[in-house]
């Protein structure tokens, strides 16, 4: 059998890589291996519950894989890479040859240290099975403690509060979402949660636990039937490390997603890539995972990957949506653009007006259009006068048209 592309990991990144390779004209064999038994699915709905249970939303329908001649192996784990023979070993003992190998192994929830797990068995969220388990175990009116005021923790807080759970969020930093958005956006998200019944403890840690009651560093005590840990994720790099590949907060790759082994690639949450400002970064976002997968697929198909777009992500918080584009950096000017329905966009610009970052928070999708224009301005390198950016009466699209 002729060796083709083998993709390890069938999340959004791995599936996008298979899609990207086919779209780029690759005609050889593509094998897509995922350890989840389900048809490859979208992860964003796992923390955004609309009904009684989180939706299982397939990325593509089942027949897409056969129609594109992609050999999908579900519920299979890759246990080793042999670079000398260009083979991978599956959990069942089977070996597969590759001409090109993509590691799209994703990330795993960061665990609390064992000594912190004093009371109940804490919940972590990564898979659809985790989410379904959470939704079934946590009943209406339950007392829930969420450790970590990041996106996943806050989306779960909103989902659970909508089900009449009593939710406390513990955040060690002095504001929620501190790493991801400017203070004004943190404040708006915080206020919305409080208005909808969530209790948020910032600059707070758990100091002791007894009989399902957590003592907090701010002096309060909180009873918790359920504890959910949402303190970030760590990249799945064991396969790469065991194969002797460079790992530094993710599998190190170049701008074509190749590791130091030219026929082994990595993309998505598990990899660490060069970014525009000359540094390196590891991303944990749906859009970046899909885009990196598609571009890695193009690279493996032997074509130059399309240019990277500014990183973008969204988060649903109750009936509001947060959208973020670009990368935060020091030394930028922060401009606030009010939206007509009580929403706001925080925009960061450099001295010459170059837009580097924007975060919008508004009811529904009211921030969506402006965020998309800001993304296009960033991509095109078009400067924005802060006075115009701050003026809700001037559509941002006019800046794009004036170029």
């Amino acid at each position: 059998m002729m060796a083709g592309i083998v993709i390890v990991g069938a999340g959004y990144c791995g599936v996008s890589a298979a899609h990207g390779a086919r779209e780029a004209g690759f005609e050889g064999q593509i094998t897509l291996i995922g350890d989840d038994p389900e048809l490859p699915y979208e992860r964003p709905p796992l923390s955004k519950w609309e009904g009684a249970e989180p939706r299982l939303q397939p990325i593509f329908a089942n027949d897409w894989y056969a129609a594109n001649d992609i050999d999908l192996r579900r519920g299979k784990r890759v246990t080793a890479i042999d670079r000398a023979t260009q083979t991978v070993t599956l959990s069942a003992g089977e070996t597969l040859s590759y001409a090109k190998l993509l590691l799209a192994t994703g990330a795993a929830p960061r665990r609390l240290p064992p000594e912190a797990l004093l009371f109940v068995k804490p919940h972590y969220l990564r898979t659809h099975s985790d989410a379904r388990d959470l939704a079934r175990r946590i009943g209406d009116g339950a007392d829930v403690l969420i450790v970590g005021g990041g996106f996943v923790g806050l989306e779960l807080a909103a989902s659970l509060a909508a089900r009449k759970a009593f939710v406390h969020v513990i955040e060690a930093q002095d504001r929620i979402l501190a790493r991801a958005v400017p203070p004004e956006i943190s404040r708006r998200v915080h206020d919305l949660h409080v208005e909808r019944g969530v209790t948020i403890h910032t600059a707070t840690t758990i100091t002791a636990v007894k009989d399902n009651v957590a003592r907090l560093s701010n002096g309060q005590s909180v009873r918790a039937e359920h504890v959910i840990i949402g303190i970030g994720s760590v990249p799945n790099t064991d396969l790469a490390t065991d194969a002797g590949l460079s790992v530094d907060n993710g599998i190190a790759v170049n701008d074509r997603f190749a590791t130091q082994a030219p026929n082994i690639f990595a993309a998505g949450d598990c990899c660490n890539v060069p970014v525009a400002d000359g540094g390196r970064a590891r991303f944990e976002s749906w859009q970046v995972a899909g885009e990196q997968g598609r571009r890695a697929g193009q690279a493996m198909a032997g074509v130059a990957p399309e240019p990277a777009q500014p990183p973008w992500f969204w988060s649903d918080q109750f009936d509001h949506c947060l959208q973020v584009v670009g990368l935060q950096s020091a030394g930028t000017q922060n401009t606030l653009r009010p939206l007509p329905d009580g929403g706001i966009i925080a925009i960061e610009t450099r001295a010459g007006g170059q837009i580097t970052f924007a975060a919008g928070f508004a009811p529904g999708n009211a921030a969506g259009r402006d965020i998309k224009v800001l993304q296009k301005l960033m991509e095109a390198g078009i400067a924005g006068d802060p006075a115009v950016l701050a003026d809700p009466g001037t559509p941002l699209k006019t800046i794009l048209r004036q170029r």
Partner: protein, 105 residues
């Protein structure tokens, strides 16, 4: 047979822009192209039921305000993931200064 239904006046939609048009339980997106032509598609993104009229029109592309799926609104064709399924399109005409859409039952 189906009737032509008034949507709005031609100058109610700026060029290279879109408005939402609800009729009964259905929702449509009505576009004014940079060339001055009008088009109509289903109003909700085929990916996650988001109103496309909140999105951004660039040339002949509508971009969903939520997850950045894209469609060619002149053909309904999905042109970027996560949008996979195409949008339905509907005949549009201008009569007496009114944009009209033709709906089949």
């Amino acid at each position: 047979m189906s009737d032509w239904i008034d949507v709005c006046a031609t100058d109610d939609i700026e060029e290279e822009d879109v408005i939402r048009f609800d009729h009964g339980i259905r929702s449509f997106a009505i576009y004014h192209s940079p060339e001055g032509e009008f088009f109509a598609t289903d109003g909700l993104c085929t990916h996650e039921q988001v109103h496309l009229a909140d999105g951004l029109v660039m040339d002949h592309t509508i971009e969903c305000p939520k997850h950045n799926g894209q469609f060619n609104y002149t053909t309904g064709k999905a042109t970027r993931l996560p949008a996979c399924d195409h949008l339905g399109t509907y005949p549009v005409r201008v009569a007496g200064g009114q944009v009209q859409i033709q709906l089949s039952e």
